[in-house]
């Protein structure tokens, strides 16, 4: 093994989905690094490949016909694609845990909170039933749920959306993971609950030095939580960098346009800046720069050939755009 720095690394990963029986590329050569203690935001619109990329870290897409066509994912230096079934099972929910968007569908309605949480604890920590219940109660208090003892005996449908999301976060924390992948963890919740779930995730992440990958379409959430940002468009990372850089000096025309069209920074009554057209689906990506058909600055060079990433600031900020490279 070359080096074993603590890091979750996605290296040049390409994924194909199956559309009408044919493989179609949906994620193209994505590289990302997540270190313990950092929050990485993976941002993009629907269909950009952000969720597929995140799910690949737990090899979850394989059950839905998503195939890796290129690249690797390394967990502290070890390829997750080389893991045995047993190692993979222990890794999922053990060293890497996942929090999903829909707190209702992620919980099984016919089992109590205690039995679902206890199962995860016993699987990963090998505790007795009794010790698992004690730990479960402790985890529920740890995510801000009152009266944890009686919650253990309740079924998911007795809980509000916010409480269910807290239970799922408790479940993710059950085996003391090093990394958490959270896919739109607040999207399905009411605004006032969102802020609390954000505070909870951020608190847990800091206290336990977790590496958190946050998959979202929401720049507000990125502003609130992330240290680093990667923006995806049509299967590629088009821009990446530290959060302050991305908000102050977005370089890629797509990032700039996405930031500008947010209603929260608009003047009431004035027209919002828009990105013309729509996100192309996998299989319909144009040659050259994939954003070119919607970009006001695109010229013949942009459409001629695939665009390489251009990096500056010692490689901390990168963008996949010819104009950025020319102007630098």
């Amino acid at each position: 093994m070359r080096h074993t720095a603590a890091m979750l690394e996605i290296r040049d990963l390409s994924l194909a989905v199956s559309i009408q029986g044919r493989p179609v590329e949906a994620v193209s050569s994505v590289s990302l690094q997540l270190r313990p203690g950092r929050v990485l935001g993976l941002v993009g619109e629907s269909g950009c490949g952000k969720s597929l990329t995140a799910q690949a870290v737990l090899r979850l897409g394989e059950y839905q016909g998503v195939a890796r066509t290129q690249g690797d994912i390394l967990l502290d230096g070890e390829s997750i694609f080389a893991m045995s079934d047993e190692t993979l099972r222990r890794m999922r929910g053990g060293r890497v845990a996942m929090v999903f968007q829909e707190p209702m569908t992620a919980l099984n309605p016919v089992f109590t909170i205690g039995s679902q949480l206890g199962e995860v604890i016993r699987l990963h920590l090998g505790l007795s039933r009794r010790a698992a219940m004690e730990r479960a109660a402790g985890l529920l208090s740890g995510v801000g749920l009152q009266d944890a003892g009686s919650l253990l005996g309740q079924y998911p449908d007795a809980l509000s959306g916010g409480m269910r999301q807290r239970v799922l976060i408790a479940m993710a924390m059950a085996a003391d993971p090093d990394y958490i992948i959270a896919d739109e963890p607040t999207t399905a919740l009411d605004v006032s609950v969102q802020k609390r779930i954000i505070a909870l995730l951020r608190g847990l992440q800091r206290d336990r030095n977790l590496g958190l990958m946050l998959v979202t379409h929401d720049f507000g959430l990125v502003a609130e939580m992330c240290d680093d940002v990667a923006v995806m468009y049509a299967g590629q990372i088009v821009e990446a960098g530290p959060v302050g850089e991305i908000f102050d000096r977005p370089a890629h025309p797509y990032t700039q346009a996405l930031m500008a069209c947010r209603p929260e920074i608009s003047r009431p009554g004035e027209a919002l800046p828009v990105i013309p057209g729509q996100v192309p689906a996998p299989g319909q990506w144009p040659q050259g720069c994939r954003f070119a058909p919607r970009c006001g600055r695109a010229g013949p060079d942009c459409r001629a050939a695939a665009i390489a990433e251009y990096a500056w600031r010692d490689g901390a900020h990168l963008a996949r755009c010819l104009h950025v490279a020319e102007e630098a």
Binding site: G161, L221, E264, A271
Partner: protein
């Protein structure tokens, strides 16, 4: 201001009866004593979280649901007692746009048939050719090419489907559009396109919008006036600019504080907000369990608006400078 009132509701109540084999019957008062007026050319936003009663209010105003009590007026005419048959010819006055543009379009119908449906009811005298002309014109108004007419819903993206949903509502030339979370299911960049489209159409045609939303950033952008709902009641109403700059009800204040930030520099401590997450009280002020200002007297509060502005015994000051 003496602008025409195109839609008004008075003291609307809606009680849903629940209960069944395994549960004791429990009634839910989804909407309680709600009144408002919508004037020609303006946008009134109804804001609230899930379960606040905002979508039920929209359906009551559309007469898609019967109120348990209270009255609905379209252009000054009381339509509360009218049955479906009597309502049909009047529905060209008020049309609805739904959140999920895919679920609300018939997948087996070509776009032109879907959009033209309203014409068959409201303009039966039009020939097929005249109907097709009207559909083409309305689709163009909504930013779609005429060629969309002979295609099916699945051939369109989410944003395009929402344009079709808007075209379908506009074809009968209504004065009022009820928009129920019209951009919530859309990507940010598409959201901006649809918000701009709605604004352009409103200006061209002088339409009035009843805009239902949970998203305060969107509401701030579109609304002239706001009604904030909580637990079935309107807890605050007023001009949008006033409500955003100086919320009077503690719930409105909490909602505004929970808005996403625009820049990482505005990041606060990861200290969670005070008060409970969720839930509401069955007696007294319904917001009481979550209110950081609640006092003993709130247990006896009737949740009615005071001076038509705020339903709170201890409202926040109207001047932002008077705070802290």
């Amino acid at each position: 201001m003496s602008r025409e009132t195109v839609l008004s509701v008075r003291n609307l109540d809606k009680v849903f009866r629940a209960g069944g084999l395994f549960r004791a019957a429990a009634d839910t008062r989804a909407v309680a004593d709600v009144s408002f007026d919508l004037h020609a050319g303006e946008t009134l936003a109804i804001v609230g979280e899930s379960g606040s009663g905002k979508s039920t209010t929209a359906r009551l105003a559309m007469r898609l649901l019967d109120p348990s009590s209270g009255r609905v007026f379209w252009k000054g005419e009381d339509v509360t007692g009218l049955n479906a048959r009597a309502l049909r010819p009047k529905r060209s006055h008020i049309q609805m746009v739904f959140q999920d543009p895919f679920a609300s379009l018939n997948p087996r119908m070509k776009i032109w048939h879907t959009v033209a449906e309203g014409l068959r009811v409201h303009r039966p005298e039009l020939s097929r050719a005249a109907r097709r002309d009207r559909v083409a014109e309305t689709l163009r108004l909504c930013g779609l090419d005429e060629s969309a007419m002979d295609r099916y819903p699945h051939q369109f993206s989410g944003g395009q489907r929402q344009r079709i949903g808007i075209a379908r509502a506009l074809i009968v030339e209504p004065q009022v559009l009820v928009l129920d979370e019209p951009v919530s299911a859309l990507d940010v960049s598409v959201q901006a396109q649809i918000l701009n489209l709605l604004k352009d159409i409103q200006q061209q045609r002088g339409l009035s919008y009843l805009f239902i939303s949970h998203d305060l950033s969107v509401v701030r952008h579109v609304a002239d006036r706001i009604s904030v709902m909580f637990g079935g009641h309107v807890v605050e109403q007023g001009r949008a600019a006033d409500v955003f700059s100086a919320p009077r009800h503690p719930y409105t204040e909490a909602l505004l504080e929970a808005r996403p930030i625009a820049h990482p520099a505005a990041r606060m401590d990861s200290r969670p907000p005070k008060g409970a997450d969720e839930g509401l009280a069955r007696s007294g002020c319904s917001f009481r369990p979550r209110c950081v200002y609640a006092r003993d007297a709130c247990t006896g509060f009737d949740n009615r608006l005071r001076d038509d502005v705020v339903a709170c015994l201890y409202p926040l000051p109207a001047e932002p400078s008077a705070r802290d």
